[in-house]
Symmetry: C2
Subunit: 758 residues, 2 copies
Amino acid sequence: MKKILTFAFSAAVSVTVAQQKPLIDYVNPIIGTGGTAHTYPGPTVPFGMVQPGPDTGFGLWEHCAGYYYNNPTIIGFSNTHISGTGVGDLGDVMLQPATGSVKTERGDEKIPGSGYRSRFSHDDEKASPGYYQVRLLDHNVNVELTATERAGLHKYTFPRNADSSYVILDMGHVVTSEKGKTIWGFIQVVNDSTVLGYRLSKALATERYMYYAIRFSRPFSKFNLMKFQERISVAHPVQGSGDEVKAVFRYTTKHDKPLLVKVGLSAVDADGALANLDAEIPHWNFDKVKKQAEDKWERELSKVTAVKADNKTKTIFYTALYHTMLAPTIYMDADGRYRGVDNKIHQDSNFLNYTLFSLWDTFRAEHPLFTLLYPERVNDMITSMLMHYKQSAYRVLPKWSFHANETWTMIGYHAVPVIADAYLKGFKGFDSELALEAMKASANAPFEGMEYYKTIGYVPIDKEPEAASKTMEYAYDDWTIAAMAKKMGKTDDYNIFLKRSANYKNVYDSKINFARAKLLNGQFKTPFDPLHMRYGGDYTEGNAWQYSWFVPHDIGGLMTLMGGRDKFSAKLDTLLSMKETVNDMSGEQPYDVTGMVGQYAHGNEPSHHIAYLYNYADQPWKTQETVHKIMTRLYNNTPDGLAGNDDCGQMSAWYVWSALGMYPVNPAGGVYSIGTPSLSSATINLQGGKQLVVKANNLSMANRYVRSIKLNGRPYKKTWITHELLYRGGIMEFEMAGKPVKNWFTGNDLEAEKMLNK
Amino acid sequence: MKKILTFAFSAAVSVTVAQQKPLIDYVNPIIGTGGTAHTYPGPTVPFGMVQPGPDTGFGLWEHCAGYYYNNPTIIGFSNTHISGTGVGDLGDVMLQPATGSVKTERGDEKIPGSGYRSRFSHDDEKASPGYYQVRLLDHNVNVELTATERAGLHKYTFPRNADSSYVILDMGHVVTSEKGKTIWGFIQVVNDSTVLGYRLSKALATERYMYYAIRFSRPFSKFNLMKFQERISVAHPVQGSGDEVKAVFRYTTKHDKPLLVKVGLSAVDADGALANLDAEIPHWNFDKVKKQAEDKWERELSKVTAVKADNKTKTIFYTALYHTMLAPTIYMDADGRYRGVDNKIHQDSNFLNYTLFSLWDTFRAEHPLFTLLYPERVNDMITSMLMHYKQSAYRVLPKWSFHANETWTMIGYHAVPVIADAYLKGFKGFDSELALEAMKASANAPFEGMEYYKTIGYVPIDKEPEAASKTMEYAYDDWTIAAMAKKMGKTDDYNIFLKRSANYKNVYDSKINFARAKLLNGQFKTPFDPLHMRYGGDYTEGNAWQYSWFVPHDIGGLMTLMGGRDKFSAKLDTLLSMKETVNDMSGEQPYDVTGMVGQYAHGNEPSHHIAYLYNYADQPWKTQETVHKIMTRLYNNTPDGLAGNDDCGQMSAWYVWSALGMYPVNPAGGVYSIGTPSLSSATINLQGGKQLVVKANNLSMANRYVRSIKLNGRPYKKTWITHELLYRGGIMEFEMAGKPVKNWFTGNDLEAEKMLNK
């Protein structure tokens, strides 16, 4: 042990020396803002509640995060965004600085019908963690943004010769890819530099309340409320409400002094928003807030230091790491109050409440990554889920929840593996008895086919859509309950859920070697086409080729079903080399199924573990080959540098894991499959001061295969490694080779699976 | 003093003997549910927050209170209603019991397109204070309703042979005479007999939140949510939201046992609604709740006892008294929390918060009546107004406010005379310094022409609509501030507002003897037609004939302007005998200007004091004649028994005052003009145990004139009397005559006016 500590120390020293420029300089928030990744470029802090940023449009799929790189104009800067989803929402409190003629719809003045959009150029735009800048060309206003956890700070530099400068507050704006809208918005001008309000909106979240407080650094000379619906007979209304209410704040800006605008948010009330703002930005020093945000990023990015790689790879890596910290987000006021999924206000000083759980995506690699890199947040995230359970009218854990709403998006009960993983890894900062209760309740909730699954062992497709996927994912989630129950000594629960975890076999058709949908009468549904994919069909955003591998807890069992090791690996070979299109019978573009390598779809989550499955079949070099291909071909330092929705960081988390040479095929239990690093060296700074150095000697584009591995100087001959072992710190040293090396290992991943099931 | 106490005692004894049946039996809530009065028939308790009742339609002027007597069908029973207004709102939490086929819009079952309306018959309908019953003919369900302060209790008796009985909860329903709608509604089925939720609606109030809790006496066997907008993938959603969300609760009712449904309300939150419900109806005894409500009415109606009159008059009188207790309403949870006009939740244990201040109407006679009959509520009502002032973004007192909204309806700042009246009468249970501050702030708020009024002494019509009315009403309100300031020793304020109180003269055109609109340049606006009336014109719901008399604080001054006593009374003669139509140049039906006696429009408030003005011109017999005519012709024991909007009880308060032989021409200061009683005897039970007996000896339809008055046995020879004198208790005894008696008095009302201005 002493030796390890010495390693750790020397690694830390080398970091200090090696680090030439800040890590934030390797983050490019523009990655993913084009293509289909749906990331946003605006600033935030790690896991921050507020994300001010530019919005370029709404209503199309490309607008899920508000900003789409190829759009030519900006409509304003709203203060909340979601990164990487397939449905849009948020966009609270949109502000747009502008110049020229502006008129209200009430009286003598009116904003021109075309709105207040402005063109912009990527040449005069800069995005980095904690900071964003762009020039609005039509208004000639330079916009800079930064943020704290609960407040955004906007800096507008107006042209010196503007006759009329103004800031527009648009409560009608919602970031949405579909039909979202403001149900009700409220603006109250408290004095000549303070505005309070809230809005109720409906988009991905059906019923979302967000309160705000705005402070301007200088008094506006005049203001107007527009399109408000209150019956106001007063000449100068100071408050207005409605679904499209807007305010225009006017300034004379015959000088260089920029205008600063603070926006505090709260899901609780406007007082909370103001208190958040005043607590977090008690001054008007933009650079100070920017520096604080940058420092927070630097601190979190420094969980991985001393990275040796070319600049492009380093940028892809740190941007991915950055993306994993954009969700979940804090959802609690500075005073500990928060809005629960019961739409009631709760107060708690014992944990930090998080929201935005895109669990169907993030249970796979992102939450396991948190246990490695951000363990200090894991207990609070789980407690947030448990509070959701307690507050939910349905008495289930979050499924796809955010901002006090359960959206019921996607399938499964994947809060369960997240909690189980943490418990199995020894996290103790949450109520494990309550957790098991919640996990069991979620696994027994009488909807989405569960009533059938519990009695006949599968979800019948004639009773419930996406039945094949549901059966398989339920079975996996059940295994994680069994594993946790076992560790807790709850034998009855263990037995029940272990049995359920084999239910995936009930939808596996060994005659054709695919998992497929079955009818209530026990017959498989026909006709059957393993390439067929349809939203709301037999599978969830995938087809039989993609979904048949989803048995992360029992690859051994799957292998047996498939006819043994060789047939299993041959089928993987076919998967990865066959034609890249799916047969879409719905006529709808299967926009989620992207990033194809054969029928492997890296652009969507069901495939994410598949490249590592060769490790179970004694062919780790094929895992290495495939993972290397995905890392180098499907991740890039460009706006469309991600192969599909980043999905709150899951796509990026896949990269972070893989770049470090491993991946959690089974997301719960603490076993990682070993792949092939994309970094020549990286030091993971573990909780408690220990370090884990991952080195890949002789790594190059050609040298992508593993020749051998040493752990703390001694040969390591397994294709897998445990979380527990890694967390002791030390050095894991890969020797890389230009050709497949087939004899470096003695134990494959089935060993680990057996260990977990012991 | 001893003698008076003896009187009081003997009067009390006679009451006990005389009172054959309960006073509530003399209340007919159907009065005013036809015609244009807009009262509602459902039960409530005095000043109660909850008013369950039948709704027969929405969207037309006749639907202001939800129920219109001539409509043939009932759409449901909502739990809040406003009595007597000219714009509709409320109608929260509408329930409809029904039988037959009902289907949701989600799946296999659907409510027929025509909705769930049912015919009903007035023959199987009963309305009395605290109780309402009707049979729904199409569903064959008997409905009974009663209420507490904060909860409604519904009793549904379904037919024994119904295959399918159900209760529909419709969150989309809003009582409205115009375009109101539910912005957002929420239903959560907590268990098989409990439902919670809220709705945000927009009608007269722009942004009104109401939370509710429902408990059913028996578990429903099944329920469905309909037209909900939440993305729910679960098979049996227990919560739903949207602008039209409904729920259907199903029962098998193969027995006689009725279903009871409790509905608790709160403007704070659903927990508050549930707590209100459980605090006020902790059992399932319908009759007990009904009895409690009836007892509360009996107690309040007993403020006037020992009434001698024919049954019809007694019914008209007690129904009027009942109507004066339907507004303002309590607006505070059982735990002291309430929603302020700032939309924030406040808690206060020092006063009971009231809302629904229809002040342009009720400052005239209803609030003065409260000082006489319900003095125990006056301080809290005023404190409620002061809290509104403190919480208002505009820093003004309520104008026409309800349910945490300021509607800005009508003109003037008539909270001011209400507060001044109470202060001048010695009410001390509110913060008088804060009150004066609020009154001055309201009288200086920079809108509705005040900026001009303060500088040039009138509101110019070319800058502000209804300028003539505004100038006159501002001047009166200003006088009341002066009067209160004087009593408080605030000489500066007194001088400022006394000066402003003469501003009515600035819009009086002595050449033609009418108050009329003036332009900013000092010229009167032309053309001019004293019969002309237009909404948003020179006057407020009236014309020059009606508005020129509105100088309640300076009839002496008005008389001088008009050319002296004789010309003044001759003009009154003309007013009351001329043609009864107004010249409406807008093309819009002047539906508020009703109940015509010449150009005197009893159906609307600006006329209400005019009949008493003869008392200032030494012709009290003409006051008596006119008042008697109005009482007997314009009040009736029929659905259309009121001549116009009851306006939260103002129309009824006029009757109560007049029936007792007096009226507050000047609503502030405690002087009442003496008219002609419609009751042969009535005992007013004053606070502190004293009694005031008003007797009218020899009263008959013919004997409508006053021959003489004795106060406590001694001749009383004034046409006015003070609140202070009345409040000492005793007997005021009218001798009635069949012809005008012109020499019974020595002092007229100008005397009182001088006294008040001394």
